[in-house]
């Protein structure tokens, strides 16, 4: 029975892919109920994967987040316009996903604390993080949380987080291929894809990733010390 349901769902998903996102948007704009089914088949599993496996949210949070994202898609579908091709819709949904995720991260920063949230759920059991890396990450996250709290108290949208701007500055001071590697791997983009952007082989990138991370940690620490010294 379970297999039959899975097969049926896979068939529906293929159906959505074949018909394309143009038709999905048409259905949603026309207020057709099947549009909701097609939207869920096309995006729920995909976004759940990203929320849980890339952004490391707990299952319940991921489920609620994806539900909110798709709800907003249905409510705002009349504001959506294709500009180039049918991929526009995917990018639009991803922009909503990113914004909702950002709100969730800010909320966790204000309430539970990000390190507590992510550490407890994902990292403490199996991962061995070097002390220096842990220290630097903790310092950045703490500074980020403080800036969120300050902005929340002031009642305006935060746009300038000194810690994140420093992260961006340190990345800029690295080799282009190094920062592409770090940025892309953080979002689980496969080495194969990154190889295309950096003109380095997949094998080289796998070897260099840990070294480049250490280099970033060292540069960031130096950057902080230099700032404290001046």
């Amino acid at each position: 029975m379970a297999w039959a349901v899975t097969d049926k769902r896979l068939g529906e998903k293929r159906d959505v892919e074949q018909k394309g996102l143009c038709q999905l948007v048409e259905e949603l704009k026309a207020g057709e109920r099947r549009g909701c089914t097609h939207l869920v088949d096309a995006f729920q599993g995909r976004l759940m994967w990203e929320a849980e496996h890339v952004f490391r949210l707990v299952h319940e949070d991921a489920e609620e987040l994806v539900s909110d994202v798709l709800l907003l898609v249905v409510q705002k579908i009349h504001c959506f316009r294709f500009r180039r091709d049918e991929k526009d819709f995917h990018f639009w949904v991803m922009a909503i996903f990113r914004n909702k995720l950002k709100d969730l991260v800010r909320h966790k920063a204000l309430t539970k604390g990000l390190l507590e949230y992510f550490d407890e759920q994902r990292f403490s059991d199996s991962e061995e993080t070097p002390g220096a890396e842990r220290e630097v990450v903790a310092a950045i996250v703490k500074e980020y949380e403080d800036s969120i709290r300050r902005n929340d108290g002031g009642g305006h949208e935060s746009g300038n987080h000194a810690a994140l701007e420093r992260v961006a500055d340190v990345l800029e001071s690295m080799e282009p291929w190094e920062r592409v590697l770090l940025r892309c791997r953080a979002l689980d983009i496969p080495y194969r894809e990154i190889a295309g952007y950096t003109l380095k082989s997949e094998g080289q990138l796998k070897v260099y990733h840990a070294r480049v991370t250490k280099k970033f940690i060292r540069l960031y620490s130096d950057h902080l010390q230099a700032k404290a010294g001046s």
Binding site: V5, R9, Q18, K19, Q23, V25, E26, A30, G31, R33, G35, C36, T37, L39, V40, Q44, G45, R46, M48, W49, E52, H53, R56, A62, E63, L70, L71, V74, Q75, I77, H78, F82, R83, D85, E86, K87, H90, F91, M94, L101, L114, F118, E127, E133, V136, V137, V141, H161, L164, V167, A168, V180, R183, C184, A186, L187, I189, E193, T213, F216
Partner: protein
């Protein structure tokens, strides 16, 4: 594994817009094979929630009713109006005027011009298709209501009445779900299939 913990910082930086990867992540998500299996109950619950939201949201369509209405609106926003638009689409000024007033069937315009139209207005083929179907139906059915209108008086008072009726009938035919003769329908379907295939928005292409 070292690096996992550090990635948290870069993810936050990405979400806050402090680092940019120029759409590489969004492109990757579209092609990713890994998808979280969703329990049937959770899926059904979400669909129900979305359907409720959909029924509450008022449908607002601002897509013009016919191609003529679309072109008239677009002409107003361009500095040289219709002349510029006609040149960009690749049709003569006379043909463009007929299109503007829904006096010519879209079948008379070559596929290449429709492709230029799509690319110029960055419209999805599906939206053009809706407008072309309505316009074609309007053009095909116009003679039948014109003969009805001809029975009205052509005097000064009648002319105004005719204008109102003309507009009303045009809108009625564009909105109504009326079937056109099968041969006309077949020709229109062939044109739309060519546009879809050549614009790269053919649902059968990804199969």
């Amino acid at each position: 594994m070292s690096g996992e913990f550090f990635d948290l910082v870069l993810r936050i930086a990405y979400l806050e817009g402090a680092v940019d990867i120029h759409g590489a992540y969004e492109r990757e998500v579209q092609t990713r094979v890994a998808v979280e299996p969703v329990p049937e109950a959770s899926r059904a619950l979400l669909i129900r929630r979305l359907e409720n939201a959909q029924s509450l949201a008022a449908p607002v369509r601002d897509l013009p009713l016919t191609l003529g209405a679309f072109l008239r609106r677009a002409s107003r926003t361009l500095p040289r109006g219709g002349a510029d638009l006609a040149r960009r689409i690749g049709v003569s000024r006379n043909l463009f005027r007929l299109l503007e007033h829904d006096r010519i069937s879209p079948l008379k315009i070559p596929v290449e011009s429709w492709l230029r139209f799509l690319s110029f207005f960055r419209l999805p083929a599906a939206e053009l298709e809706v407008m072309l179907r309505r316009t074609h139906r309007l053009v095909v059915l116009q003679p039948s209501y014109r003969s009805t209108l001809a029975r009205y008086s052509a005097g000064p008072r009648g002319r105004r009445k005719n204008q109102i009726l003309d507009r009303a009938a045009g809108e009625l035919y564009a909105r109504a779900e009326l079937s056109v003769p099968p041969d006309e329908q077949a020709r229109l379907d062939a044109l739309l299939t060519s546009i879809r295939r050549q614009s790269g928005c053919d649902p059968g292409k990804n199969a």
